[in-house]
Symmetry: C2
Subunit: 346 residues, 2 copies
DNA sequence: TGTTAGCACTCACTCTCTCTGAGTGCTAAC
DNA sequence: GTTAGCACTCAGAGAGAGTGAGTGCTAACA
């Protein structure tokens, strides 16, 4: 059944009042604060309907109503108005983000602090994962006597290196030859392409440097492997500003969950990957038991189509969704710019 | 004034009971639970003395006594008995730490979880800082057309790299020549040695590749710079198991502090660097206002004499110091082994 | 002189009870 | 369909009494 326009307005008023005050909302207050031209009694009737339909809940008989998960969902999908950040907020944000970063790691770890500062909620950021990379370049470089470096550059422009020690002296030109051979045979390949058969062939062709080859190849494979999402968390303490977490057990549940980056990463990976839109999970929608009283708002970011990650915030279900969504969009845009500038040169 | 043997025993009993129960300790309980051969009244007299001397405090008139900071300090310095980890604890620890790590980062980030699991307190780990490094090796490697990699290996065995893009094609042998020139001029130098005068000389000698040189040198300097301590935090939620943090304001104060790695890093850096012993700051001794109700226990670890970092825990002043100290020692030993094995090959 | 028993006193905590006020649902009138 | 009015509910605040763990002091004891 469709909601009448009047019910929608009342539901919206309730959700927004509750988000603002964290107190159950009563009919009288709505009549007073929102100019709906309706008496409290009428609103009461509508609220009774909305409750019956599942959009509202009563904490107890003589309290006002609060939105149910379904109420929030309807609000987010159909009622929420776009929140415009104030000029001050925007220029503040611009300023914070307007500095030179030269390492991906640096941007990503700082962005979580920025998000939490802007939204006043705990922020989570997933370090970009590489998208089924291929070897773009692999080189073996003699760094000093008996020590060489394998340098692998992947499709996504990520550079990794590892040292290799030799027990006997090795010739400069030998290293170069091996390096060239490996490069010729591996560049352009994905992890799946580097089959045991191919490795065997190479191994045989290598002769005395077979062992060296093995080390290099295993490192290359490691570089191509999808790494488990690294997660940064910022401003976790912000959660304590919300009255729903002044119960110490609720707080502990939250912080225990956040203590494990793995948990957080898993939860993030359950949120839609592909959509360019912001995705929102309200309460139990996240499917994570210990997060059933919190909502998660996540945006995806990409660098080209190779690197992709997520930024988001975690807050109580009673969260200022409108504000969070706008802020995340804003930050995501700026982040895209920064990352584009950083990686775009490739 | 020296404490009599009897006062020491009573103080010890009070500290240990309070650590165990988090309840103010009364004279009767001490008489009952510790076989001191003294009546409650006598103990009461001694407690009054200890309070007057500053070792004990009363939360209010009709409660028992709790140790003051000075009381804890005396306990830690003079009374604390060595705690022996149980066989189970030890073998559990051995097992957790007995796996192959191949990245420094991996060990360090995992160690904080291990510490907090063992001690049940929030753990902090400072990523090792390099000790006024020198350039051991610097190489310029052509990775693909128009892209080269600067690879710097420092004294401490740390490898760093950065990509350089060229707007025009550059010759393989030219890169080699530049690489050799830079290497010859920079290897063995510390940051202080790379003076502007020296850079100018090199710049002039380089001719058309001067710009390239500049980029390389600025990167080398960056590599040699002491990096601001990176800090890992594990098991922060553990703090909430202590009744002194069931007050939400106390909890917020704690988590706000921990939210800023910078804060934590600064606090860690205030703890003695050189001592091989474990250092303990009790309450306000840390000098950090918002940590005045917590104590910090820190151990230093080194790899050779080049890399050094810190591991430690943060807990309420009422902390099981004996247990924490033993656990940290144990973990630090194992960590030294692991790091030695990892880095020792250099 | 040090130790102990005894006792009056203190005070946080808990429990119970009452009161208050915000809010509801229902009914009847508009 | 809307609204005014009214009886009813119930969480939360506040007051008061009772409890018990603890103290300090005094006087007696070894």
């Amino acid at each position: 059944m469709e909601l009448s326009q009047r019910k929608r307005i009342i539901l919206q008023a309730i959700v927004e009042d509750y988000i603002a005050t964290a107190e159950p909302v009563g009919s009288r207050n709505i009549a007073k604060n929102h100019d709906l031209g309706l008496s409290a009694a009428t609103i009461r009737n509508e609220m009774a309907d909305l409750e019956e339909m599942g959009y509202l809940e009563k904490p107890h008989t003589s309290a006002g109503r609060i939105p149910s998960e379904m109420g929030y969902r309807f609000y987010v999908d159909s009622l929420m108005r776009r929140y415009s950040l104030t000029v001050d907020e925007i220029s503040g944000l611009q300023k914070t983000m307007d500095r030179k970063y030269d390492q991906l790691e640096g941007v990503i770890s700082e962005i979580s602090d920025i998000i939490s500062k802007v939204t006043k909620y705990p922020a989570v950021v997933a370090f970009p994962k590489e998208n089924k990379g291929r070897v773009r370049s692999v080189r073996l470089v003699l760094i000093e006597e008996r020590m060489a470096l394998v340098v692998v550059v992947t499709d996504a422009g990520v550079v990794k290196n590892r040292r290799i020690h030799f027990s006997t002296d090795i010739d400069y030109s030998a290293i170069d030859a091996v390096s060239g051979f490996i490069s010729k045979n591996l560049v352009g390949l994905s992890a799946a392409d580097i089959t045991p058969a191919r490795v065997m062939l190479m191994y045989e062709a290598m002769g005395e440097y077979g062992e060296l080859l093995k080390i290099v190849i295993s490192f290359v494979l490691e570089c191509l492997k999808e790494e488990s999402a690294r997660v940064y968390i910022g401003g976790a303490s912000n959660i304590l500003n919300n009255p729903e977490f002044s119960d110490i057990d609720k707080a502990r549940e939250f912080f225990s969950f956040m203590d494990s980056r793995e948990n957080v990463g898993k939860m993030l990976s359950l949120m839609g990957d592909d959509s360019d839109d912001i995705s929102i999970k309200i309460g139990s929608e996240s499917g994570v038991e210990s997060m059933k009283d919190t909502s998660i708002v996540v945006a995806n970011y990409h660098v080209g189509d190779k690197l992709r990650g997520k930024i988001g915030i975690i807050g109580p279900t009673r969260m200022d969704y409108a504000r969070v969504v706008s802020s995340l969009e804003m930050i995501n845009d700026r982040l895209a710019e920064i990352l584009g500038r950083m990686m775009g040169q490739d």
